[in-house]
Symmetry: D2
Subunit: 135 residues, 4 copies
């Protein structure tokens, strides 16, 4: 059953209290997050790093699972993550969109697309599989 964006945000803050990224929306089998542009600590010319994009990809899929499972999904762990970096992100915010393609009792498989804000072409595209622990 679906959970509201507000409920999911509560769970997310519990799991990731220090995350700069935040949840923009949660819909059935989907979630969108935004990672604001990091204006500090960045060398001239630098944009979001590969690891930051992988972390965001991992997180937004977890959020989509929480949106379907609520607290039961809290201890879900990543089983596989396969990311394809398509192009260099622009300066600015990064948007992450997750879509769960298959949700079982114990497994969730989905895809995640990352976008530079205001750009319709994805900068990265991933498949993520999560294992959902039994109650």
């Amino acid at each position: 059953m679906g959970f509201s964006t507000e409920q999911v945000v509560e769970v997310f803050k519990k799991g990731f209290p220090e995350s700069r990224a935040f949840i923009e929306s949660v819909e059935p089998m989907k979630a969108t997050m935004r990672l604001p542009a990091n204006t500090k600590h960045l060398r001239p010319g630098a944009t979001v790093s590969g690891p930051a994009m992988m972390t965001l990809t991992d997180a937004v899929m977890w959020v989509a699972i929480i949106g379907e499972k609520g607290e039961k999904g809290f201890n879900s762990v990543t089983s596989n993550l396969s990311i394809n970096f398509l192009s260099r992100p622009k300066h600015g915010d990064l948007i992450a969109k997750a879509e769960i393609l298959k949700l079982g009792r114990r497994l969730a498989v989905g895809e995640v697309r990352l976008y530079s804000a205001d750009d319709p072409e994805p900068v990265a595209f991933s498949t993520v599989t999560y294992v959902i622990p039994s109650d």
Copy 2:
């Protein structure tokens, strides 16, 4: 530039003259193919095999590339194929839908979803990367 479905079908028949699968449509950055149910040689209860699904996945991405590159894409070769089998296909036709997410001069990256006919839930979901040879 895009090529018409008819033009792509011509190229496909040249490359895969014995294929049971056929092209249903070609649109900008997309292609759809159908593999008719195989009524011969199948043991009772058997549906489309994993290798047949991988082959169809590989083919429909190639077709989408031909749709964009025409004959120049003929000698494109698969660089990576990553398939996730989500559920057992039903008896009947198999539909394959490819979407190119990034098309460069030398590289194409896209996703392919396979469906049992008349079923909106994908039975498999893949990422495919092709290398397009220089002229």
Copy 3:
């Protein structure tokens, strides 16, 4: 527990009676298969196709699982297969080597490397995940 090469060959022949590929050896958590060069039906210059390499990859991982699980592994199904084509295979036989990296009661994850015979550099390299059905 491990099963002998002869026992695994018996099971393989039951599952794949028409396969041109054959098992060369089965060791703990490993299997090696050979696909003889196909001298018929091949256009001049053609070598093993991508789909044939994917099929062999899928098969050799299944064989490695049979080597560990015996008949209990017969109905194992591929969950994910991710293949990287590294270079064009040479004419001649194709060797496939599977190594199971993690074997649980219900899941097997491993890697497969494909080689042109007598060439130490792999032509393809894959990760394969199988789901092993409960008894």
Copy 4:
């Protein structure tokens, strides 16, 4: 041509001055890194996070490329990273071993295995592809 471990460490420190992980060895087409156990900021029971393991995987492949290309590899960027989490890491150091399977002028494809120190079974296993920029 290969570069010595000391030379690679110099380049690594330039690229990742704040990394807690360090290079243990660099050999032809291979590299090993160690991420010391993080005794601070960790909640009771917590071990290395998925994102930390992905970051380490990405880094050790880059280090292996530097080992082969020297400074020419500095601006290499990750094209694909596919990680399979096999089991929960233990408390303690994490070891990362990269092996380049194919190294071209512009592309490197390899695998990375992560281990809990003193444990022969990998906790994660990845395929990583890097694009090496032209001079």
